[in-house]
Amino acid sequence: MADKTTLKYTPEHEWLDIDGNVATVGITAYAAEKLGDVVFVELPDVNEAVTAGSVIGEIESTKSVGELFAPVDGTVTENNPAVVDEPSLVNSDPFGEGWLIKVQFDAAPDGLLSWDEYSALVGE
């Protein structure tokens, strides 16, 4: 599991683990808990170009449907097949095995939140 305090966050409850020009992206434990038991995950294909803020996938629970937003302009380099086969990984390990995609970007995104800022946002 990644160290939550060193990750970056978006107001859409996604986390980014940035290594060079590649970001690993998932949803936060807070978001996973709000969704409830995740039963279906749809992710963008590898090599798909994505635009920051656009909807690129879905995370569906028994109760509701959550959208996956691209956190940055770039190209998908990997998607996590384990989470498609076993969507409950999003609940059981949102910051680890429940990661969703890796995106290669040219310019680092602006406006990301620190752990403290994100925690303040969700009031926890």
Partner: protein, 373 residues
């Protein structure tokens, strides 16, 4: 929902917080949506038992010399003739035959009835009953604030209740209490109504008592349930359980624009009674010939259509989903939808538009799930 009132909380709120519940707004109430996992809570009710706090539901007492005939006039069903301690599912209709609320009515005495209404319709139901009471010797007394409701649902429910400390003076042994019957009892000296009713498709009980005794009753049930696999269950699991059981939810399958026949509830309307009940002429005239009717839909894969998603035949939208989920018990998507009557026959192949993706679906009889007796 724009509710200017602050959110209300159940008398069991602190218990839920202590159990780590996540809360959701439901009809202006802050109620547990889940404690740990929707799916685990759902499975527990199907295989063992779950305990639900339903204290948001509305309890309206109707009593007085004319109570029976009053209810026959105010509601679609025949209620004056039900037995003492019998429960009956009924409907409050509008003059135009739409569904104002779906309720369960208990006969507590010769001239005393308890009407249990949906939390979101509490005011509408109480107001309609009060209005309709004009000219009858009857009192409509909304006691919702004073009542808690705890449900124990699942195959182990009876064993749990039989072993719950503090439940005494049961009017009827629970093995003799049949479906949709109730009996009086006491819990630690406080009057308790034990009803064999529910909204999950399983055997189970609903327990009504004063709010002041709700916490000790919850703890006593939990203690007795520990060895029977009882788990606290939230509204998320309640929704998937009732959906599998093909039970309508007000605001999804039922509303004032829908007549009982469209919702498959024609049997609840007593056209054989002599009473000119509210909505009778409209229901006798029936909905428009092409009015959409409620059907079940099943599909493959894991993606369910949700409330509001279009149902399509060929290129034409012929209906809309009202409730849908991946069925935890069956493992495939199940939906309830209103479709044009020409597409309502079981076996009809339709398509649900799931956020732009067409998902083939087949009309199927309700319920989706029926417990083994």
């Amino acid at each position: 929902m724009s509710d200017p009132e602050p959110e209300r909380t159940s008398p069991l709120h602190a218990v839920h917080s202590g159990l780590g519940a996540s809360f959701t707004d439901f009809a202006g109430w802050q109620m547990p949506v889940r404690y740990t996992s929707d799916l685990a809570e759902h499975a527990a009710v199907r295989t063992a038992a779950g305990i639900f706090d339903l204290s948001h539901m509305a309890e309206i007492l109707v009593y007085g010399r004319d109570a029976g005939v009053f209810l026959d006039t105010a509601m679609a069903g025949m209620l004056s003739t039900i037995d003492l301690m019998q429960a009956k599912y009924s409907l409050l209709l509008t003059e135009s035959g739409g569904i104002l609320d779906d309720v369960v009515v208990y006969r507590l005495g010769d001239t005393t009835f308890l009407v249990v209404a949906n939390a979101g319709n509490r005011d509408a139901a109480a107001a309609a009953l009060s209005e309709r009471a004009a000219g009858f010797e009857v009192t409509v007394d909304d006691q919702s604030d004073d009542y808690a409701l705890i449900a124990v649902q699942g195959p182990n429910s009876r064993a749990i209740l039989e072993q719950t400390a503090g439940i005494t003076e049961l009017g009827l042994p629970l093995d003799e209490l049949t479906y949709y019957r109730a009996t009086d009892a006491f819990f630690e000296g406080v009057p308790l109504l034990v009803a064999r009713t529910g909204y999950t498709g399983e055997d189970g009980f609903e327990l009504y008592l004063r709010t002041t005794a709700a916490v000790p009753l919850w703890h006593a049930l939990e203690s007795a349930g520990a060895q029977h696999g009882l788990v606290p269950a939230g509204l998320a699991s309640r929704d998937t359980l009732r959906l599998e059981a093909g039970m309508p939810l007000y605001g999804h399958e039922l509303d004032t624009g829908t007549q009982p026949a469209q919702a498959g509830l024609g049997r609840v309307v007593s056209l054989s009674k002599d009473t000119d009940f509210i909505g009778r002429s409209a229901v006798e005239a029936g909905p428009a010939e092409n009015a959409r009717v409620l059907v079940g839909l099943v599909s493959e894969g894991r993606r369910a259509g949700r409330a509001g998603y279009p149902v399509v035949s060929g290129e034409t939208v012929i209906g809309a989903v009202t409730s849908g989920a991946l069925s935890p018990t069956l493992g495939h998507p199940i939906m309830m939808a209103y479709v044009e009557p020409s597409h309502a026959e079981p076996g009809t192949a339709l398509v649900v538009d799931v956020r732009g993706t067409p998902i083939p679906a087949t009309v199927t009889p309700l319920p989706f799930y029926r417990r083994k007796k």
